[in-house]
């Protein structure tokens, strides 16, 4: 069934394009240390607010244009005419751990003699925006997936139990979801963040944010799963399972919940953007991912600096563009997935 859905998904242009785009984005996030020429916290205080460096073709090599700082107070740089350094491919550079496991020191490209290369410019302390964007992708993109996984798990369990058990567990769960859906989300997010921050060490903010976002996000999923379970409960195959004496838990986890998966997978895909945007909003407000780590929201938050505003608008644009691109890709994929699964969504026995 999975192969069917996948084939039908990839046959749709929207599905194919968005799937390719997401594979690319996640690939870039995974191989960020390899793809980036330097490390995200490598500073260069002589090269702050550097404009994006131009790439030129010189003597048969792709080379990076060299710049000269003209006026430090306005961060004005001028390209040095006829001066460029050829890029080195697959060369050695700062060491890193690929996937956090394998020590390595090869980079896709570096520049010899530590000449700066800023494909997207540099920030207030001369760090490479391109590198930080790639590293930030890892955090921003994985929060979406992990958050959605936790939420689906929570929503599935709570919604399934509520729908199957009925009675007071049902009303309790439903009042709770109504409550969560009726309160302005960001207000609660702030409150949770303030309360939980002392419980998590500062390098575990990533975990903290995922927990907060999932704790607020399961309500919608739980409500729909409950509705599905309620309608499935009366189907002949569940009645049959009841009659042959299967235990309630077996019926719930083996028969009822698996039948909600096709809905769940669509809903999960469509809710990934919510998590990416949620993390971005929190980090943007300075309550999410903390320096020296990087995330797209954090980078946008730092772009509020007036100097960047006037000098290096590039930096402002790229993380925002990355967020928009990712969100559109997930929405497209979700819509295509919904069509692929079935417009009226497939239930057994139909």
């Amino acid at each position: 069934m999975v192969a069917d859905i996948l084939r039908s998904l990839l046959r749709r242009p929207a599905g194919l394009i968005s799937a390719t785009l997401l594979v690319l984005l996640y690939g870039m996030a995974l191989f960020a240390p390899f793809l980036s020429p330097t490390t995200p916290s490598a500073q260069n205080l002589d090269r702050t607010y550097h404009p994006p460096t131009a790439l030129v073709w010189q003597d048969g090599h792709l080379s990076v244009q060299l710049y000269q700082l003209v006026d430090p107070s306005t961060a004005a740089y001028q390209p040095l005419p006829e001066r460029s350094v050829p890029l080195r491919w697959f060369s050695e550079g700062p060491s890193y751990k690929l996937f956090g496991l394998f020590p390595a020191h090869r980079h896709l490209f570096t520049v010899p003699d530590s000449h700066p290369i800023y494909l997207l410019g540099s920030d207030a302390t001369g760090r490479d925006v391109f590198t930080r964007l790639l590293y930030g992708a890892g955090i921003s993109l994985s929060i979406g997936l992990i958050g959605v996984f936790l939420t689906s798990l929570l929503g599935l369990t709570i919604g399934g139990l509520a729908g199957y058990l009925g009675g007071w567990p049902d009303s309790l769960a439903m009042r709770l979801t109504e409550f969560l859906m009726a309160v302005p989300g960001l207000y609660l997010l702030l409150a949770l963040r303030a309360a939980l921050s002392s419980r998590f060490p500062s390098d575990a903010t990533f975990l903290l944010i995922v927990v907060i976002l999932s704790a607020l996000g399961w309500a919608g999923t739980a409500r729909v799963v409950r509705g599905l379970v309620l309608s499935l409960r009366e189907r002949p195959f569940i009645l049959a399972a009841n009659i042959i004496g299967q235990r309630p838990w077996t019926i719930l986890f083996r028969h009822l919940l698996p039948n909600t998966f096709s809905y769940l997978i669509v809903a999960a895909t469509l809710s990934v953007p919510g998590y990416i945007l949620g993390e971005a909003a929190l980090s943007f407000l300075g309550l999410g991912i903390q320096e020296p780590a990087s995330s797209w929201g954090l980078m946008l938050g730092q772009a509020q600096d007036i100097k960047i505003f006037m000098l290096n608008f590039w930096w402002l644009l790229t993380p925002g563009a990355a967020i928009i691109l990712t969100v559109i890709a997930f929405n497209l994929l979700g819509d295509a997935l919904r069509d692929a699964v079935d417009p009226r969504f497939r239930l057994p026995g139909k």
Binding site: L300, I323, I328
Partner: protein
């Protein structure tokens, strides 16, 4: 109908109790309390601190504090803000209108733009209006509000066409009433556009689906058969029915606007509830946070109530009964 309104307002109470209890518990988990910064200030009399500690029971466990706070609130005493040195009620009374104003203008923008566009798009599914608006809505829904706000501020700073932030000019107090009105309207343009864009897109998508749905019904065929012009059919017969589901979701749209305005207000330096609550969180100005949350949730529930009333007004099939 009066009974209905009273019943709904009564439902507000348990909700507010639950929210404030939750926020209170969460904030008491956070390290420090709102007196921590006060104790560090030298010019405040220790006797005053002791008195405040006693009156708000800060030496007691949080649930007792909550009961005390609740008792104070019943006497309409929302506490005191340390950052602004004024009673919380006064602070919120200053800030809440700005947020309500912004939410209303955004909602207005969303509806005035989305309604005609959605009807026109649904009238010819797959036509150029439909494809254009669908693509634009797709894109608009993907832009984070704070990013849009940043772009707007950048644009305002670069061109000088619009004010960079705030709700009033420096000389606002000296203007004539009509200039005051235009001054505020001028400051509202950018925040409204930023906050309203997502609303336009969301409303457009929902309404388009509703209109398409209603167009299938038999009375539309009947209306066309008796020779009504397409304009009358679409905007008088179809639209009124297609709007109903939308009316009932205004409340949730309002929740989204409150959350969205928190971000937009912070980026655009807009003096509303969102910025107040954010700054109060950062400074652990506990009573300001609680007061704002109470007001925010009340606004939400009143918004829901109004949307139910609007629904009952527009759809005679809906009754106030249970």
């Amino acid at each position: 109908m009066t009974a209905f309104i009273f019943r709904r307002l009564a439902a507000l109470l348990p909700m507010l109790l639950a929210v404030t209890l939750l926020v209170f518990a969460l904030m008491s988990l956070a390290p420090g309390d709102f007196l921590t910064p006060v104790k560090a200030q030298r010019d405040i009399n220790p006797a005053l601190i002791a008195e405040l500690q006693k009156s708000f029971g800060l030496d007691r466990p949080w649930y007792e504090q909550y009961a005390l706070w609740l008792g104070n609130v019943l006497h309409l005493d929302f506490g005191y803000s340390w950052t602004y040195k004024v009673p919380v009620a006064q602070l919120i009374a200053q800030r809440a209108p700005a947020t309500i104003l912004l939410s209303l203008t955004s909602l207005l923008l969303a509806w005035t733009l989305a309604i005609p566009l959605a009807v026109l798009a649904a009238a010819r599914p797959g036509g150029w209006i439909d494809r254009l608006t669908s693509a634009a809505a797709y894109f608009a829904l993907a832009i984070p509000e704070f990013f849009l706000a940043l772009l707007a501020v950048w644009m305002a700073a670069r061109t000088g066409w619009f004010p960079i932030g705030g709700l009033t000019s420096l000389d606002h107090d000296f203007l004539s009433p009509s200039s005051k009105f235009f001054d505020i309207a001028y400051h509202l343009i950018l925040p409204t556009l930023v906050l309203g864009l997502g609303g336009v897109a969301g409303t457009l998508r929902v309404l388009r689906a509703n209109v398409l749905d209603v167009l299938q019904s038999e009375y539309v065929t009947a209306a066309r058969a008796k020779g009504l012009s397409e304009k009358v059919v679409l905007f008088r017969h179809v639209l009124r029915n297609a709007l109903n589901p939308l009316l009932s979701t205004i409340g949730y749209a309002f929740a989204g606007l409150l959350s969205g305005s928190l971000l937009v207000e912070n980026v655009m330096n807009y003096p509303g509830l969102g910025r107040l609550v954010y700054e109060a969180f950062i400074r652990e100005d506990q009573f300001v946070v609680l007061g704002s949350v109470v007001v925010g949730c009340s606004l939400l529930i009143i918004g829901n109530l109004l949307s139910d009333l609007a629904l009952a007004w527009s759809d005679p099939r809906v009754r106030y009964g249970r």
